[in-house]
Amino acid sequence: MSTEAHSIALAHHKDYRGSKFAIWLFLITEVILFGGMFLLYSVYRSEHAADFHRGAEELNTLLGSINTIILLTSSLTMALAIAGTHHGNRKLALWMLAVTVLCACGFLVIKYFEWGAKIHHGIYPGSARLAAFPKGEILFFGLYFTMAGVHGIHVLVGAVLLTVMFFRVLGQPHAKLSFVAGHGLQHAEGARLAIIDEQGTPLWKGDKIDTTIQRIDVKTKYWPVKQRFKVEDFNQLENAGLYWHIVDIIWIFLFPLFYLIT
């Protein structure tokens, strides 16, 4: 057997570009979903400007601003987590993912207190107090609870998704090179596997490879170092990241429309 390396392709093939394109198609349906609700908001706002103005004054701008900063920060940590995998920095990727999930939970906790206060004051869909409000304000709060609610569900889904991604990355480092009989292994027949150090001293020698050997696996049980990094291994994480950023973008529009325009 010559000393030239036989390069054997890894068994897995992932369509990195295709999966990213698919997730973008899904994200567009999300934008259309919220776009429809934004349209409803715009039409009712143009008809009941004064009532929307009063409704927005009832919302807690401070809590809304804090939640905006929380989501923006979670978008940063999400991007850093993905950059971490690109730089081969597993520890950073895991920490940043954990912070992202914590931010998502923080957002939901603040939302809980915000909604709790509103419900305590008798403002919730179908409540007697809300029914006595002017028509425009009823519409404002109806839209607020619907849109912030659907957005909140997206945050919850994102938190679950990113928790799953955390454990995916945690369980990562595994790369396996397989030399399968009939696909290059015949070149190794009669040879012996050995691990040789810098001085050329064999550290370990395997048994002779004969026709009974069907496969030689080289398993790596460590985090792939930078040069071993394959962007395809993290396409799920990147797609989850795209989803998380679109949740942030939707909030970027919800925040001024419900909390600020007074």
Partner: protein, 101 residues
Amino acid sequence: MSHDAGHHEEAHHEPVGYGQYFMTWFALVFLTAITVTAAGLHLGAISVLVALLIATVKASIVLWLFMHMKYEDATFHRLIAVMMVALAIFIGLTFTDTLFR
């Protein structure tokens, strides 16, 4: 997708440094501060316009840098363009109805 020739190359741009993401975050927080301040100024009729304009700038920054649209090719840019045009048609056409009733 019929880009088989560059299939293995397209995804491998140089990893983006961490610094750029911090700058992006800073810009987004800064714009949030501006939009909250602007809301406090009671600008009247243009307040909605200002708020939506700032929100659009923020969303574009997230899309371009956090969501890596900067590094995607024309197929993805076209996809986003189609989405924007579809939204504009939905909203525009509805208002041609509601505004002139």
